[in-house]
Symmetry: C2
Subunit: 208 residues, 2 copies
């Protein structure tokens, strides 16, 4: 089994909530490094990465480009075209590893869903993608549970902090500096980011 | 196997970072409800809850009371007294469920460690507690990995968002309202807490 891993990706001006710590160019390089980490993990788990973008960009990756629509619209246009199982996984999950992705794609249920922080959805594995559709706005985890229920599909919720931890806010960088092992952690360290402990609480600071 | 589950617990004025949302009395009741959820989960996983407190309080639970020392000191006084395996698990993990705790206590390694948000340690299972000691200040997860390594103990890091999610900050309540199933979620709902979605971001608000 070598299902496609659809990875939505925004190369230009991503991760704006990190703007206090990283310039636009740095955020673009950091997002690219996180994407590399996710791609490495899905490949190790025997999935084939396919980037889903709103515009074509310079990359050797397989890309599906859909303009003039949002994330959910793009994915819902692609899903019915997959004859076999498909995975959707976000590009900002640099703690993703082979073991956690294998737990997702080896589900015995019709669908496996990985909740993200704050009610989001970080990954969805569908054995029959044409029976499902996505809706990423707001508390998407609860929406996706409901969509699966309405479609009569059985669901496994995957209990993984590695896939639960999407990197959006400055304090999320703590998780990456502690648990990361790939290119995005190395990129942060090259920029001089370090863990800092103040009154017992752990944060990050930028040295150099 | 029915190992003790040592649960550090502070009945008076807990969870001060939730003070903007909850009065002291409410925080005490909320902490008690989270403790009930953790106790229910460890009992279902065939562990025996033992509360570790700095002062005796009114409860039917088995308690070990150690005054005049901090959390690490208390636990380090207790650990060598355990002839068999022991679990330490925090009281503010209301998403803990039987499956996640079973993954911890069924490790094939000498020790299983569950990292918490922000570099903390939410649970530790030790087959031979006298060979280990804890140090909860700061980035305790990294410290505990080092302590295990220095002691020559093999370690499994448990990848669970249910056990990773300690409830400290207002935005953590989102996780409880989405993924919780026990008394602490019900307590929040009784107080009128609801999920709210603003510009696609999920938060909580207190109605009524």
């Amino acid at each position: 089994m070598c299902p496609p891993a659809l990875i939505p990706y925004k190369p230009k001006n991503p991760k704006t909530r990190l703007s206090a710590l990283l310039s636009q160019e740095e955020r673009e390089q950091f997002a690219a490094a996180m994407l590399e980490d996710v791609k490495a993990a899905v490949k190790d788990a025997m999935c084939s990465p396919v980037l889903v973008c709103s515009e074509l960009f310079d990359s050797e990756d397989v890309q599906v480009t859909i303009a003039d629509t949002d994330l959910s619209g793009s994915l819902n246009a692609i899903l019915p075209q997959n004859p076999g199982p498909a995975l959707i996984i976000m590009a900002d999950l640099p703690l993703a590893d082979t073991a956690s992705i294998r737990r997702v794609i080896s589900t015995e249920k019709d669908i496996a869903i990985v909740p993200g922080r704050g009610g989001g959805t970080n990954a969805i594995f569908m054995k029959e993608p044409h029976k499902f559709h996505v809706d990423y706005y707001g508390a998407s985890f609860l929406k996706h549970m409901k969509i699966a229920e309405d479609a009569g599909l059985s669901v496994e919720v995957i209990d993984s902090f590695r896939l639960h931890t999407d990197i959006d806010e400055p304090w999320d960088l703590v998780e990456l500096l502690i648990h990361g092992t790939g290119k995005s952690r190395a990129y942060l360290e090259d920029l001089g980011f370090l863990l800092s402990v103040d009154k017992g609480r752990v944060g990050v600071r930028r040295g150099q």
